[in-house]
């Protein structure tokens, strides 16, 4: 029956029927990202200038980013009813929090002299922000925005499955019903769109003027779709349930096991992906690999990471049956795709003197990269792997959707059974787990950097080692790399 996965339903009728869901997913992504970019910019500017709402909303954002986007969508369905509106609010909230955080980081790195000069003239906060801060950080913010778009598309596919619409609902529905020909059509469409978006993002980065048009369109869509709180007290009832977190005794007893299951899923997947990604990264590397090999491995990695983890999990259920193994395998495949690309670019971006020296001894390109670039890149590679673990932990909770076990499954079932008190308790557990791990990972990577003795070239998120993209204005800035997509917006 797996053969059916390789014989997609390409009938004109089905493809025509998919046009609507595809358009919905793309429009939803654009609308959510537009809201996130605009709101995120405002929040980041406010916090950069120490205006009061910035600080407060930044801490709300930290809490928000600890809630998986899928769970956020579920909560929004409770409040706003079914449809694109709920998914829109969920994605917009999640990515506003991410963008605000990232933008604040970018703005903090900007030289402050222009702001001080403007302040000296007596200019107000808005003027300082608009003329003193924004122009300096704009290129990096553009890169980050296009990059969030790719992420949000993947999230929209998964969130659509719950919010009730788009290609995600069709894909998850077809897979769940074992309608493999149609499921494989949806997978092909999703992967193709994700790859196209990576290209499109590069184009937009080089043509910043397209951004204004896209933002306007996105905001118009968001206004048209933004849902109203539904009348009646249904949402209130849900909210009051959520306000009283509660876990029955047997769930408390199960907690250590569930936490261990979630950690094991994320750790196993990350470790295996990191180990395998290293040799594959050499195949993908521009400095170490042959063109044909590079092309093949780049495409392979792109396909692996184009499928969201939850979709991988649904496909893998066909082979692996039930349980945490499916979750771990799904996290592994997506992580492999992301890490290969990230590792390859890190190796390529290493300071070239040592590599050139090895090349001059008559060594081959691969040898030169191995001895000349890898030791220099080790610190950054470790950081990437550590943050990937952090991301996988977050994703492990989303995989509860397909019954992969751990905290995620309990969270999903509590929501399905409308046990709001339990749902809220599991959300708190998830948030505590994620924030705790984030802190621990940050501390560990700090120690690792010191021990390896090599600072990664720049802060991993705001400017990861990667392409130098030339803009029309000939300004050079480091783009946020496509492969960093899944991890970046979460912080």
């Amino acid at each position: 029956m797996l053969g059916a996965l390789f014989s997609p339903d390409l009938s004109p009728a089905y493809l025509a029927a998919l046009a609507g869901p595809i358009a919905e997913t793309l429009a939803l992504t654009l609308a959510a990202v537009s809201v996130a970019v605009v709101a995120g910019t405002l929040l980041a500017l406010a916090s950069a200038l120490d205006a009061w709402p910035g600080r407060m909303l930044t801490s709300v954002g930290t809490a928000l980013r600890a809630v998986p986007d899928l769970t956020l969508a579920v909560l929004c369905v409770v409040l706003f009813g079914l449809g694109a509106g709920a998914a829109l609010v969920a994605l917009a909230l999640y990515y506003t929090a991410s963008a605000a955080k990232a933008f604040a980081g970018l703005l903090a790195a900007v030289p402050r002299a222009p702001v001080r000069a403007l302040a000296g003239t007596g200019a107000g906060g808005a003027v300082q922000a608009l003329w003193g801060l924004l122009p300096l950080a704009a290129p990096q913010m553009t890169a980050y925005g296009t990059f969030v778009f790719e992420c949000a598309f993947r999230a929209a596919v998964v969130v659509g499955a719950v919010g009730g619409g788009g290609i995600g609902a069709e894909l998850v529905g077809s897979l769940a019903a074992f309608d493999l020909p149609r499921a494989s059509t949806c997978i092909i469409v999703t992967v193709a769109l994700a790859l196209l978006l990576e290209r499109g993002a590069l184009f937009v980065r080089m043509h910043p003027r397209a951004i204004a048009a896209l933002l306007a369109l996105g905001l118009a869509l968001a206004i048209a779709w933004w849902p109203r709180i539904l009348p009646g007290d249904h949402g209130l009832r849900a909210a009051s349930g959520l306000a009283a977190p509660y876990l029955p005794a047997e769930q408390w007893r199960a907690l250590p096991r569930l936490l261990a299951e979630t950690f094991a899923m994320a750790a196993g997947a990350t470790l295996l992906a990191a180990v395998l990604a290293l040799p594959l990264a050499f195949a993908c590397s521009r400095t170490a690999s042959a063109p044909a090999l590079r092309l093949i491995s780049r495409i392979g990695a792109a396909v692996l990471r184009a499928m969201p983890e939850a979709v991988w999990a649904l496909v893998l259920v066909l082979w692996l049956g039930i349980g945490p193994a499916v979750g771990a395998a799904a996290l592994f495949l997506h992580s492999l795709g992301a890490l290969v690309r990230l590792f390859a670019d890190t190796i390529d971006a290493a300071e070239p003197t040592a590599r050139r020296a090895v090349l001059r001894t008559g060594a081959g390109r691969a040898t030169a990269a191995l001895y000349g670039a890898l030791p220099l890149a080790a610190g950054a590679l470790g950081t990437h792997a550590a943050f990937r673990f952090d991301w996988n932990l977050r994703m492990a909770t989303v995989l509860g959707l397909i019954g992969a076990g751990g905290i995620g499954q309990e969270l999903y079932e509590a929501q399905q059974l409308m046990h709001y008190g339990e749902l809220s308790a599991w959300l708190l557990v998830t948030a505590a787990m994620l924030i705790g791990t984030e802190r621990a990972v940050a501390a560990l990577t700090g120690a690792w950097r010191k021990r390896v003795g090599v600072e990664p070239t720049r802060d991993w998120l705001t400017a990861p080692p990667g392409f130098e993209v030339r803009t029309r204005h000939r300004a050079r800035f480091s783009s946020i790399h496509a492969a960093a997509v899944p991890s970046a917006p979460s912080r």
């Binding site: 009730g164 019903a177 849902p227 539904l230 009646g232 249904h234 039930i322 349980g323």
Partner: protein, 280 residues
């Protein structure tokens, strides 16, 4: 919770002049649990039902098949649909939470059964053989695909010894999971099983029913309390008037022959069972 507060705050700033869902003049929104899946294929099936209802009620009707059972209940609760097709457990949930009003059901829903299935080669011939074997259930909120079978397994003393269990999300998915070998055994709605066999989607030579459950009350059409009595009545009549020989196409989609009025009191046993299993 901060998230909800923020959701509320953001939504409160949204344009207020849009019509609220469901209040659109004349449009009747019908929600359905995805007992037969929620894909394009399922939507095609439901189009026939939508056309029948629109012509009999003389107003536009929109049939929305949600992606999971809980979503239908939430949608009925917050008014994004007016009338919903629910299972026994989802009805009890909606009735207890916000007073969903039972309307009509198929005659067979008053004494419905779950079909326990396995591949013939699996050597599973009765509930006792399930110890240590993997088992597929439908949606966690399904009455015939999860609640009542769980109860029956517990009564038979095999609930604790069962191998890994999974909720597939819908009845056809359970059948497909068993046929493919992803699960050793599965349990589903008896009418969905009959339809899958009749349509040739499942080969009865390979997968067979090894046990049929005791009867229980299941599917029912229910309205949210805000729907006017006249609208409820005209909807009920549309289904009560369906006849074999005249409305076969629609009845086949609904997997039934005849509709009868439904009573909330018939679900006391389902409710008690759900409480025992802590699903309510």
């Amino acid at each position: 919770m901060g998230v909800l507060v923020l959701c509320v705050a953001l939504a409160a700033c949204s344009p207020g002049d849009e019509p609220s869902p469901g209040a659109e003049q004349g449009l009747l929104r019908i929600g359905m649990i995805p007992d037969a899946g929620a894909t394009q294929a399922a939507a095609d099936d439901k189009r026939l039902l939508q056309e029948m209802l629109a012509s009999r009620l003389g107003r536009p009707v929109e049939v929305i098949v949600t992606t999971n059972y809980a979503a239908t209940v939430e949608a009925l609760g917050n008014g994004s649909v007016d009338i919903a097709y629910l299972g026994g457990l989802t009805f009890v949930r909606a009735h207890n939470a916000f007073g969903a009003v039972p309307l009509v059901q198929r005659d067979i829903d008053r004494a419905f059964h779950s079909a326990f299935i396995a591949r013939r080669e699996s050597g599973i011939d009765g509930l006792d053989d399930l110890a240590g074997r993997s088992m597929c259930f439908g949606d966690v909120n399904s009455t015939s695909g999860h609640l009542m079978p769980r109860f029956e397994l517990d009564e038979a003393g095999v609930g604790e010894t069962l191998g890994p269990a999974r909720n597939t999300g819908s009845h056809p998915a359970t059948a497909a999971a068993v046929a493919s070998g992803a699960c050793d055994a599965g349990v589903l709605d008896e009418t969905v099983w009959a339809k899958l066999v009749a349509d040739g989607a499942i080969d009865p030579q390979e997968v067979a029913v090894f046990h049929t459950s005791a009867p229980f009350a299941d599917y029912v059409w229910a309205a949210r309390p805000g729907v006017p009595a006249a609208d409820r009545e005209s909807f009920s009549r549309a289904l009560l008037e369906l006849r074999r020989g005249r409305d076969d196409a629609v009845l086949d989609v609904l997997r039934g022959d005849r509709y009868v009025r439904a009573n909330a009191g018939d679900y006391a046993a389902v409710e008690a069972t759900a409480r025992k299993l802590k699903l309510l």
